[in-house]
């Protein structure tokens, strides 16, 4: 297969190995569309050896921190992040699920206070493998498909 041409950015952050179709969620969670957010280059449904198909998000002129990018770990657990300076990758890391998940996942418990009051939903990671989270407010645990369904 010929190498696909994707524009190279002079500096910024490249988020690679996002599951195909998930780029809008990544952009939303990382708030990449806010006015000073830098130019966005998106490649969707790119053939990938690892994932079959994948999405790539490039943010020009902005360096995203590890902590910032870790927010997407729930939807893109295999994502890799490249920090580019002067057309060269100067730093590379894999996303990691943080100890606390704030404001990304809504609580599946309809009677949870976080679904009724003006407050950011918050979860504590109980286990990573398999992924199990506990709601900070109602204390109910969520796992598997329930997590994906409430992102």
């Amino acid at each position: 297969m010929p190498e696909l041409k994707i524009e190279v950015i002079p500096e910024g952050t490249v988020i690679d190995h996002i599951p195909a179709g998930k780029w809008p969620k990544v952009v939303e969670i990382l708030r990449l569309t806010k006015p000073n957010g830098g130019t966005l280059l998106i490649a969707s449904n790119v053939p990938s050896k690892k994932l079959g198909r994948k999405d790539i998000v490039k943010v020009e002129g902005r360096y995203l921190s590890e902590e910032e990018v870790n927010k997407i770990a729930l939807i893109a657990p295999n994502a890799t992040v490249n920090i580019v300076k002067d057309y060269k990758i100067v730093e590379k890391f894999k996303v990691e699920i943080p100890d606390e998940i704030v404001g990304i996942l809504t609580c599946p418990n309809p009677n949870c206070v976080s679904n009724h009051e003006h407050v950011l939903p918050k979860f504590h990671v109980e286990s990573r493998e398999p992924l199990k989270l506990r709601c900070h407010y109602c204390e109910r645990t969520v796992e598997g498909d329930e997590i994906l369904g409430n992102l």
């Binding site: 009677n111 206070v113 976080s114 009724h116 009051e117 003006h118 900070h136 407010y137 109602c138 204390e139």
Partner: protein
């Protein structure tokens, strides 16, 4: 141990040391109270009881505790009498009420409401029940009652009977008992078994757990039988409720095979799970359990206010 300003939201926040400290304080207060009649550790302090859903017993128990400590009480007993009805947020209600008081006790129909209230308030918040989630003061008074009746908790064989699936009280009690060296019999109809994840947690913490539907056969093993009511309102499905309604009753003939010292507890109110004839027997511990609520809540109020010790 520094309890001043601390919130009491969930049994999950407690260590064994925390529990023991509360029990010791309650025991000391109960003796003080017996000796002096009334106390004045909380003189000049105000408790606000915010009951967004009614629970007369729990509210009276907290009010009695605060009065016995020499403090005073303000509050409301249903959301319809407050500005919540006008659409005020929980956070705003809490921020307003804390201007009038030194400690808040909250009961709310939504899970997590007490945690949210505690995050908003500068003063201590005590959870008196948030939906089907937690009711930590009930658990502490249960443990206190057991300790006072037996002089210990380690070494006891305890049966939890009834609605182990939806019963908030037994979930928290089991969690707290896991700090001790106990053997647990989980006795329930097939439909109302204790959730698997709780049983797993108990086993991980070293508790010997047995599941059974056979109440009669289990009775002779037990030092303590903790009975719960089947709560119609917790059932998502009426048909399921009708299948298990009235499926067990503790009466004197059942207790004939019990150990001499067997004690029966129940968080009350009861419907028909314990026959009134048991009340007069040596086994009944449930009214003593109600009484225990006062010293335990006195301890929690006094400790979080920072007026004790």
């Amino acid at each position: 141990m520094d309890w001043k300003g601390r919130d009491v939201i969930s049994v999950r926040d407690f260590s064994k040391e925390d529990i023991e400290f509360v029990l010791k304080t309650a025991e000391w207060l109960e003796d003080e109270l017996k000796e002096k009649g009334s106390l004045d550790y909380a003189r000049g302090k105000i408790l606000a009881t915010l009951f967004f859903e009614p629970s007369t017993r729990t509210r009276l128990s907290f009010e009695s505790a605060m009065h016995r400590l020499g403090g005073s009480v303000i509050g409301f007993s249903s959301a319809s009498s407050t500005s919540v009805k006008k659409g005020e947020s929980l956070a705003d209600t809490i921020k307003t009420v804390e201007q009038y008081s030194d400690v808040i006790v909250i009961r709310h129909p939504m899970e997590g409401a007490a945690r949210l209230a505690a995050e908003v308030a500068e003063i201590p918040v005590i959870n008196a029940g948030d939906g089907s989630n937690q009711h930590p003061t009930q658990t502490l008074l249960d443990i206190y009652t057991i300790k006072r009746a037996f002089g210990k908790i380690d070494g006891l064989t305890i049966g939890l009977l009834g609605d182990l699936k939806y019963g908030r009280t037994v979930h928290s009690l089991a969690e707290a008992l896991a700090f001790y060296d106990v053997e647990l019999y989980l006795i329930s109809p097939e439909l109302l078994r204790m959730p698997k994840h709780i049983i797993e947690e108990l086993r991980e913490k070293g508790v010997r757990v047995h599941e059974t539907t056979d109440l009669k056969g289990t009775i002779p093993e037990l030092d303590l039988l903790y009975v719960t009511r089947i709560q119609r309102e917790r059932f998502p499905d009426e048909e399921e409720y009708l299948k298990v309604k009235g499926s067990y009753q503790v009466n004197c003939s059942l207790l004939e095979n019990a150990k001499e010292g067997l004690k029966v507890m129940h968080p009350l109110p009861r419907v028909d799970e314990i026959h009134p004839e048991v009340d007069k027997s040596e086994h009944a511990l449930y009214f003593r359990q109600v009484f225990s609520g006062v010293p335990v809540r006195m301890a929690l109020l006094g400790l979080t206010l920072g007026v004790l010790g």
